[in-house]
């Protein structure tokens, strides 16, 4: 008869401890996204040259060479910034999505038993 304990135990958890458990998962998700997209690091190095590709000055000064190098280095930084920006934006969008999904999950959680019941009953109604 122990299985009779399952449902009461479940509902007790569903409306108490489960909220804390979901919170943990939610925070883990934020932590992971922040890590995968390395947002802080990319912000810090936003304008660093792309993969450290830079031209260093030669021994003899030559205006044309100098300008050329500056241009290459500027390009390297610009390319770097653009690619990094896109990743940062993707990361931020993922965070926002996670935030919204989390809120939705909480809302769904509260009404989940009702949703299940409605789905089941409408299914039965549709079939018979």
């Amino acid at each position: 008869m122990q299985w009779l304990l399952i449902l009461p135990g479940y509902f007790l958890w569903h409306y108490t401890l489960a909220f804390r458990d979901i919170w943990h998962l939610w925070m883990n998700a934020f932590w992971t996204i922040n890590r995968v997209f390395s947002i802080p690091l990319l912000l810090q190095t936003l304008f660093s040259p792309w993969k450290r590709i830079i031209e260093t000055d030669g021994k003899k000064f030559d205006l044309e060479d100098w300008a050329g190098r500056k241009l290459v280095n500027l390009m390297s930084r610009l390319v770097g910034a653009m690619v990094r920006m896109s990743v940062i934006v993707t990361g931020l969008v993922s965070m926002l999505a996670t935030f919204i999904l989390g809120l939705c999950l909480y809302m769904f959680w509260v009404v989940a038993p009702v949703v299940i019941a409605i789905l089941f009953m409408s299914g039965v109604y549709l079939l018979f």
Binding site: Y10, L12, R35, R84
Partner: protein, 802 residues
Amino acid sequence: MNKQAPEILLYTPAIALEQFLNRRWQKVITSAFLIAGVSSVAGYTYSTYIAPSELAGTFLGIGAISVSFLISVSLLRFFHNAFYYRGFGTNEREAIGTTYEVARIFYNANDDVTGAFARSPQGYETLTRLGLTDKDIETFFLRDRTKLSVGALPLPDNQYITFRDLGLVLFETDVVYKNTLVEAGVTAEIYFNTLSWVTRRYYAYKNEKRWWSKERLSNLTSIGREWSYGTAYLLNRFSRAIANNSIFSNLINDNAYASEKVEEIEIILARSRESNVMLVGEPGVGKMDILLRVAERIKRKVSHPNLNDRRFIVLDTDRILAQFDSKQELERTFLTMLNQAERAGNVILVIENIAGFIKAGESIAVDIVALIEPYLGAQDLNIVFTETPNNYHHEIETLSVMQKIETVYVEPSSLLGTERLLQDIVRNYEIKYQTVLTYPGLQAITIDADRYVPTGVMPDKAIDLMVEIMGAAGQAGATHVTEDFVQSYVRQKTGIPVGPIEDTEREMLLGLEDKLHERVVGQEAAITAISSAMRRARAGIQDADRPMGSFLFLGPTGVGKTETAKALASVFFGSENAMLRIDMSEFSGFDALERLLGNSHTSGIISDMMQEHQYAVLLLDEFEKATQGVHDLFLQILDEGRFTDARGNIVNMRNTIVIATSNAGSQFIIRAVQNNQNLTDIKEEIIREIIKDGVYRPELINRFDGVILFEPLGHTEQKTVAGYLMKELQDRMRAKGYNLDFSDDITKMVAEEGYNPEFGARPMRRVIQDHIEEAVARKIIAGSLKKGETIRLSAADITTQK
């Protein structure tokens, strides 16, 4: 009533759920409803928009019901996980409580916790790994025993009870349970280690499944970390990522020794300058595994902050050397690589077996060391070198650049470390060969690999042995790999009688004195001392870290010292050939040690001997004549049972009986016997005299298992020896087709003529040769003796000088 008993209430619904629908079925049902739901939606879409039909409503209905079940089962799984992994991360742990496994045992206990423990998956695995069969476990259940209820269990207060804790409490509390195990040969230590093994295994299993934990999620690769560092294009072409191999992937975080080394390396690498490491260790000790662990830790960001984003690149020196075989090319390429590595800013360059690389460079006049040197001080580049101890000591240690490189030694793993490692990797083989490795079996593999596998280092040789044994067990259809199985395998493989003593050997050991006396005349005290030392060794009660036996034989020449060693080799190791003999008088010069231990070009005499037959008697004749250095070497051998030869190889002598013979003190012994003194009484005095004369130092004498005094032969013994020698001659002649018959007075004559106090019985052979063989030879040559005939000799036929 203990404080943990109420925990069951907390877990009850989840456990009840699992018993109603176990985790596997939960998963299967989820998938089934998911498939049903998706198919219904597809069906609905099809019958509504593509080929409209009346089925649309039915599909929608099935879909709705499937989804309602899908959500229900998913919620239940979430619910079950919440308890199944409860307390898993230490930070989520309450102060008092139990793990899910323990609660489940309590739940099933019905006032018999031990029973529920033994029937639980973990408990059953523990008992199986302890070597108990299903029948043993059944017998235990049937025994008359007092059953323990959960409330009555003396659980430690204020503690989080894990499976291991419960197992320990039961061992201490349930007398019948403990007795059952003790009768099966399980000691408290074996029990504890087995419990720990099973507990750790389940922990690892759960950790593997818990993909949403921070620990697991941190393994995801980050995007963009590399973009702020340069790319070493050329280097990337001639390198490989630090490889994952079977050993490392299973090394667990609490392997204390590895952790210590990892930390040591991290500290060096994290320095701002001259942060280079020379890793020195035998092949197979796991040098790369330790680096791989550093790499993992860097990736997980738990290493030193300075090392964040660093990556290991292992230089493929073979390919570089193959492709660039001219001086200019190699120099240019190698410099470019180093440059790129430095520019990249996050490279830890690994160069394996650096001595070999340097040598290969030298052969085309490239000075690799000079090329590397400027980069050893670079801020943004770490270089890690690896080398074996021998090459390191001979080629690398003295280089001046070593000032910029920190050396880290990686020792072969300890027995306990090896055991842990085997525990972590054996599961794959258990599944492959359908057999279970018991803990005593695992312990035997570790010890036997250490003792009886002469080549290789730990843990490598233990892993090899384990893989072989698991395969053999699979072929033999053995369900359990027990200690006996391991030992009989090792016995078969090495010919060394390890493991349980068998009947024939038992008889041999118990009758060792008689066996030795078949060849050695007299010397009662000596034979008794040797025999009991040998029995101690085979019973396994002797110190395992020393040679199997070690004796110093003192006494005059020709009284049976060598013969005793030979007899021991033949009785104990089955053949007289198992006696290795070194004449120590040849090792009195300045090159004595080098000849024994070898040098970088040639191997040493003693290492060669031991590589071939380590299970043997090593006889060191005239030991006192060897140099002080040689004595010191044996001091170490007698103490540790092994030594390191000139090439850095560790040579095992723990399966060897070492016998040193010496004439030192003979005069005392002869005098004592002449004065009718008992040798045992004056033994101490004789030893003192020898030490006083400076022949041996006291610490050396004390290292021997026994100092055995051989006394001069008495008249009866002299005659017995003469009898043996005559019998030998008789046998030799029989082999040639002649029968020799001799009277008793001949034996007496040989004994009298052939014995003298200084050389003992040694001249007897000479007497036989000079007189008796001579007489026989005359007869044969004169033709008075034909094959098949019998020659009769008496003292009258023999002419002696006397």
